[in-house]
Symmetry: C2
């Protein structure tokens, strides 16, 4: 994975924010964290307003960044399951704190 | 501030992720957290690869979301200073955890 911040290629913060800062990454990671192992269709049902194209490309990117596992079972039709990697799980406490903050300050922020 | 998720207007998580999930918001908030009060030009120097247009619009949005204060001093030329609000400060522990995670897993993710 060589997609690095052009100005600060060695800055961890920049390169991580860049990976997380799209509309869907944190939502997909949170959904997997709540549900454990999920099939593609289950993810799509849990996040009904994501397009199939966007869901597929975000899953691919999260897999390339080693935040999620993708396991394909050679069945007909093929079954594909997603889950958090250890690295992805380690991010969840921070995401949880952000969610707690969201719950606490939602009214104030959206007023 | 009535900019809400169209499908889940009452979901705190959706509406907060939506506010944070652009390339610059977390970087600006982190920079203000590290430096306290900053003038516009200081912010621009600290984040040299943000365009003036993007910096201005992101600051406006963060101010509208009550995450940062904007204080203008009637001097010539006018002096404008930015700082985190109490709500913005309350988000920083979560951001800090995310940064710690970034520092720990940077090598693995970017390999």
């Amino acid at each position: 994975m060589q997609r690095l911040d052009p100005l600060y290629p060695t800055c961890p913060i920049r390169n991580v924010i860049d990976r997380m800062s799209d509309k869907w990454s944190l939502l997909i990671l949170s959904t997997l964290n709540q549900n454990g192992i999920m099939r593609y269709k289950e993810l799509n049902s849990a996040i009904p307003d994501i397009s199939q194209k966007m869901l597929s490309s975000t899953l691919k990117r999260l897999e390339a960044d080693k935040l999620i596992n993708r396991k394909m079972y050679p069945e007909i039709p093929p079954r594909v399951e997603y889950s958090l990697t250890n690295t992805g799980q380690k991010l969840m406490p921070a995401v949880g704190m952000m969610v707690d903050w969201a719950l606490e300050y939602f009214d104030e922020i959206t007023k």
